[in-house]
Structure formats: C-alpha cells, structure tokens
C-alpha cells in the first residue's frame, strides 16, 4: 500500500530555505515534512557547491555551503521534521476535508493544510541532447541514467558525453554490454585523468568503440530504438546499430511538475504576495529562489525572511481556532515538538 504521511506543513524542497522553514514553523508548534528529489537534504548547496564559501549569511563572515546545511539540520533537529528523499513531488490535490495531498513520484502521499514550495531552481533533471525525436524514444532505448547495469547485459549500448559519468559508465559497461560505443564531441576528455587513461586503454584493446569529434544527431527505430545517426566532424554522417542510447550530459534544474499545479508563474518563478509569500492558491506558499515579486533577490538570507513570514500566515491556516502569539527565542528558548 502507498505510504501516507500527515503533517501541518508539507515543504517541497529541502534546500536551506525549506530547512529553515521547519525551524520557524517549529517555534509556532507546527510540524513539517520535507520532500526532495535529491537523496539528501541541502538542495543545490549540497548538489552543486558544497565546498564553496558563502559570505552573506548574517553572523557568518564566511561559511561553506555544506556546513551551512549541516548547521541548519542541527538547528531544526528539536522539531523532528520528516523527510521523503529521492522522490519528486508530482501531484497536488485538494481533499474533501480541505487539506492538500501531495503525491510523490513513488506514490508516497503527504497530507497537510499548508504547502510550502521551496523548490529553488526546480528539480534536477538530465540535460537532453537536442535530437528531434529523443522524447519518443525515452524508455524505448534512450536512458538518461544507468539505474541497473544488468539491464544492458549483452546488448549494444552507445554512451554520449565526455565528463566523469560518461567515462565511468563506459568503463563499467564495457564489461557488461555486448558492444559499448562512446561518442564524444571533442578528442580530449575532461574527466578524471585515471578514467580517461582507462577508457583509452579499453579503446585500444577493442573493449570500447571510441568515436570522438562526433555527435549523435539522430535516432531511428520503429517502436523501439535500433540505431543512432552519428555526425563526425570530418567523415560526415553514419549509422550505428544499437539497443540503447545513454546520453550523459549532467543535470540541469527544471521547474518540473510544479508548473502544472495552477500556480501563477512568471518566467519560471512562482508569483507571490510579499505580505506572506502566499501564491494565488490559498494554502500554498512559495519561498526562496522559486518565487518572484517586485524587487526579488535570489539570496538565501531573503529566503529565510520569506520562510519566517510565511509561517506566521500558515499558522492561521493550520490552526484556525488558535491565537498566534509572537515570542522571541531569547525569551522562550526552543521548545521541541514531541510527536
């Protein structure tokens, strides 16, 4: 059976702003549950630049992005948030009782009166090469990830790309696949020197068919991929029979399913009212890099402020019968939530 989680605020996105929202909600005795497509909290700070110093977090002359996430996790620990990680928030529905139900890509259901969208740049998705019919062949021979190497056992596989993941999978799959071809636009590879050397060795011994200065420009097949068209810089176009085409060009953030939830969107960002960072849909708020309003700055510190005001407003939604009293942590301290 699908898992069902009930809470006060479902937070979509476990980046710094989503994490800090747990703290502010916790001060108001609201419970939170975070959903993130990445397998770990921290959002782009962990995924893209964990070792980069950030200089504009008040009170920290300099803090590494990874350390900021670690500190935020420690700060919200007393409030015991729940996490659904490695799953994408796919679908939002209003229930008969007025609460929202957010369903993840794996079917986990999250029920709460309030949703905070703290999705940052959006979901990290594979960068797709500009080949006209590539979407038609998805799941019919085009794979953007190597989920299970056994899948490619004794099949013909074409990998495209020149970075570490293309090199690593080419090396690994050269032992698994029947024939493994690696197509790269240039002669040089930018991956780790060890991997580059290994690929060149395997190419020499015939385990990898290395095709450089070339790009995959077309896909052929009827209902399923059976060949790719490769354009070589000097030799022109040729066709290569294959069962699978695996383009590995890294990840890029996309707004993703959030775009279809009926929220007002302007240039890829969710429009909000700066009074409380509410969207055009009552009960759904958008905080951090994913929102837009006149004067918006995409700064972590602004996201913290937005999270704080959104929590005050969310309290009225989640606890319509209770009075909200504003207190300083210097007066009341941190009272954890017992669940």
């Amino acid at each position: 059976m699908d898992k069902i989680i009930e809470t006060d605020i479902v937070i979509i996105g476990a980046g710094p702003v989503g994490l800090f929202a747990v703290f502010e909600a916790g001060l108001l005795k609201m419970r939170c549950h975070l959903i993130d497509v990445l397998p770990h909290p921290g959002g782009q700070l962990m995924e893209i630049y964990p070792k980069k110093p950030i200089y504009d977090i008040p009170g920290y002359p300099s803090v590494l992005a990874g350390d900021l996430v670690k500190n935020l996790m420690e700060q919200i620990l007393p409030f015991n948030p729940g996490f659904t990680l490695g799953e994408r928030a796919e679908n939002v529905e209003k229930q008969a009782d007025g609460r929202w139900c957010v369903t993840s890509s794996q079917g986990t259901k999250h029920i709460a009166p309030v949703i905070f969208v703290a999705g940052g740049l959006g979901c990290f998705e594979p960068r797709k090469p500009p080949i006209a019919n590539i979407e038609y062949f998805e799941d019919k021979g085009v794979e953007y990830f190597v989920r299970n190497p056994e899948f490619f056992k004794n099949r013909n596989v074409v990998i495209a790309g020149g970075g570490d993941s293309a090199l690593d999978w080419a090396i690994y799959l050269s032992d698994v696949a029947h024939e493994l071809s690696l197509v790269h636009r240039r002669t040089e590879f930018r991956g780790a020197p060890d991997s580059v050397e290994k690929v060149l060795e395997l190419a020499k011994s015939g385990k990898i068919k290395l095709i450089t200065n070339a790009q995959v420009v077309g896909l052929n097949g009827n209902g399923k991929l059976d060949s790719v068209v490769i354009q070589h810089d000097t030799d022109g176009e040729f066709t290569l029979n294959t069962d699978y085409f695996v383009p590995l060009f890294g990840l890029t953030p996309k707004l993703g399913p959030i775009a279809d939830w009926g929220l007002a969107v302007d240039k890829g960002a969710i429009e909000v009212n700066t009074l409380d960072y509410s969207t055009n849909v009552p009960g759904i708020y958008a905080i951090g890099d994913i929102n837009t309003y006149p004067g918006k700055l995409k700064l972590i510190l602004c996201g913290f402020h937005e999270a704080t005001l959104a929590c005050q407003s969310a309290f009225k939604m989640a606890r319509p019968d209770q009075k909200l009293s504003f207190k300083y942590t210097t007066v009341t301290g941190i009272e954890g939530l017992s669940l």
């Binding site: 740049l121 960068r127 797709k128 890294g250």
Partner: protein, 108 residues
C-alpha cells in the same frame, strides 16, 4: 577614462542590440543581457553551472582564456562551437569595446 563600452548582442532571431556596458561594476555579459531583458536565463546565477548564458563570440577580440570550470560546463552543453563562451564568465572590461556576440540556441 570612459567607464562604459558598447557590446553588440545578436539575439536568437538575429536582432541586433547595441548595449551600453559598464566596465566599473564587475558586471558579466550574462548580467548585462539580463539587465536589458534579453532572453538569457542565467539559472545558476553565474557559477558556470548551467550554460543558459552560452554565447558565440563573433568578433576577433582577445578575451581571457576560459577557466577549467567554464570548459567543463561547455563540455556538457549543446550547440557548442569553437567560439563558444559562457556569458557569466566574461566580465565586462575596456578591451571589450565593440565586442560582438550571438546568443546560442536554448537546449532543453
């Protein structure tokens, strides 16, 4: 000393835009395009991590060599040519007077 230069940007419809570019603000070509509301996303904010500011350099200006980060990103981008650069890595400088650029196609 003059503190602006003219940088010409051809958009994806080949429309020419002559932009007044300040040299004293540490501004990048990506930020310049955004400030003139040209269709440049600059998703990653200028960290050479998304290639949404990918441009072709049309004129013969001597530009600073790309860093490893920029080359690594260009390796993962599409429609890359010999004259490809990331706008976010091109800080506007006096030597860029008359620089001509073209916005690269948007990839998915």
């Amino acid at each position: 000393m003059k503190d602006t230069v003219i940088i010409t940007v051809f958009d994806r419809d080949d429309q020419r835009h002559d932009l007044d570019a300040p040299t004293d603000m540490g501004m990048s070509v990506m930020e310049l395009c955004k400030s003139y509301e040209l269709p440049v996303e600059g998703t990653c904010g200028g960290m050479a991590l998304c290639a949404s500011c990918h441009v072709y350099v049309l004129s013969q200006h001597e530009l600073p060599e790309p860093t490893d980060d920029e080359l690594a990103m260009l390796d993962q981008a599409f429609f890359v040519r010999e004259n490809s650069r990331l706008g976010c890595q091109l800080k506007i400088r006096e030597e860029m007077e008359g620089l001509e650029l073209k916005l690269a196609p948007v990839s998915q």
